[in-house]
């Protein structure tokens, strides 16, 4: 009631949909130094914990006939392994632990972020940009190490008419360097937008008349966000595989 009156005072509702993304030191103080333990740190640590529970503790029995938890771990393993093998090729399998790390982190961060009052680490560009740059650097370095200068063939579309090739090369080059940008903004943008929209609907819930609609909308958005959480992790991972395939087999 108070906030409603307050909102009316200011001539409209007051929303702080972005406040949920504020990074705060966990143990008091205002300064955020390089090593300060913040809420972001806490939720990253919880993601690590979740991964350990699922992948290590879940498989501790090493059973031939898997238990339920072991099945889940095996499912995740098989899902990413098959993706790497199918999309990036058999020789990309040695990057499997790396890709699995990315996938598990993103999926856990996304789903932990769906817990009410939690903090979503993958909604921050600082996180996704680093993830995307890691992929970009890995792919570029692997491309040059594996193929030498032949990696530049990626930009020289040999199947196109000769006159078009320089233009295509410029386009390809631009698209190559845009990859980490789109790669990172896609993930953080999706996660952030969903969470912000839920928060906006939650703000509307303060008005008695629209609150039922608002609660239904929050529920619907939450369902959508569950999908988005998985799909964005999947998209990030499969794009990593696609980029890796370019590095390993640069010929079109």
């Amino acid at each position: 009631m108070a906030s409603e009156a307050h909102g009316a005072e200011e001539g409209g509702l007051v929303f702080h949909p972005m406040d949920q993304f504020i990074i705060k030191p966990l143990f008091g103080g205002d300064e955020i130094g390089l090593f300060t333990v913040t809420n972001a740190t806490l939720w990253m640590a919880l993601a690590v914990l979740g991964i350990i529970v699922m992948m290590v503790i879940g498989t501790r029995s090493r059973a031939i006939v898997p238990s339920r938890s072991q099945s889940v771990a095996e499912l995740a393993y098989g899902f990413i392994y098959k993706m790497v093998e199918d999309v990036a090729g058999k020789d990309a399998v040695k990057f499997f632990p790396y890709i699995m790390t990315l996938f598990m982190f993103i999926v856990f961060a996304n789903f932990l972020g769906l817990i009410p009052m939690s903090f979503t680490t993958t909604s921050h560009f600082a996180v996704t940009v680093v993830l995307a740059l890691l992929v970009f650097l890995t792919v570029t370095i692997v491309g040059f190490v594996k193929n030498g200068m032949g990696f530049l063939g990626l930009f020289w579309v040999s199947s196109a008419p000769l006159a078009l090739r320089p233009i295509l090369a410029i386009i390809e080059l631009i698209s190559y360097f845009v990859r980490p940008v789109s790669h990172s903004i896609r993930l953080a943008g999706n996660v952030m937008a969903g969470h912000a929209v839920i928060k906006v609907f939650a703000g509307f819930a303060a008005i008695a008349v629209v609150s039922p609609v608002s609660v239904v909308a929050i529920t619907a958005m939450y369902g959508l966000e569950v999908l988005v959480s998985f799909i964005q992790a999947y998209v990030f991972t499969i794009l990593t595989c696609v980029y890796l395939k370019d590095a390993l087999h640069p010929s079109h």
């Binding site: 972005m18 406040d19 504020i22 913040t38 090493r62 059973a63 699995m100 909604s123 600082a126 680093v130």
Partner: protein
């Protein structure tokens, strides 16, 4: 009302505390986030690549091995069963052939025995018949002799009854002549 005023003041403070735009673009804490992210990724990477993934790979390989072995064992058992069935069928066929052979043998033996017995019986019958014939002939000869004696006696009696004098030699000769006729 007190809460309202309190909220109003705290709101002003909030407005200062909450980021004007996106907290994501507050670059002052990027270093902190990146540091903890790298720590997180390194920890996850080591946990996965050192413990979890090799373990799961092992389990999957082991399961594949077990399945392959089981299928091979099943295949082997199936082959064994087929062999056993073949052996059984062969034994059955052998037994049947053996039985047929024994039956044929027994039949032949019985036939031989029967033939021998028949031949022996025939021979015995023939011998008996010959003996009987001989006895009959003897009897017949004996009877003829008796008839001759009786006839001679009777003839002599008749002759003497008629008052004649019967000579033995004549009577016998006369009877012989009659009987021949």
């Amino acid at each position: 009302m007190a809460t309202e005023t309190h909220e109003a003041t705290s709101h002003a403070a909030d407005a200062a505390a909450s980021a004007p735009g996106m907290p994501q673009l507050d670059f002052s804490n990027w270093g902190n986030q990146i540091f903890w992210l790298l720590v997180t990724l390194v920890v996850i990477y080591f946990v996965l690549s050192r413990i979890a993934l090799p373990r799961i790979a092992n389990v999957l390989a082991e399961r594949q091995g077990t399945i392959t072995n089981d299928i091979a064992a099943a295949e082997q058992l199936k082959a064994k069963a087929a062999d056993a069935e073949d052996a059984y069928n062969k034994a059955l066929a052998d037994a049947r052939a053996e039985a047929q052979r024994i039956v044929a043998e027994a039949k032949a033996e019985i036939q031989a025995d029967l033939d021998a017995a028949t031949a022996k019986a025939d021979a015995e019958i023939a011998a008996k018949a010959a003996e009987s014939e001989k006895a009959i002939a003897e009897i017949r000869a004996g009877a003829l002799e008796s008839v001759k004696v009786v006839a001679a006696d009777t003839a002599a009696e008749i002759v003497s009854a008629l008052g004649g004098q019967a000579d033995d030699g004549t009577v016998v000769a006369a009877i012989d002549t009659r009987m021949k006729g």
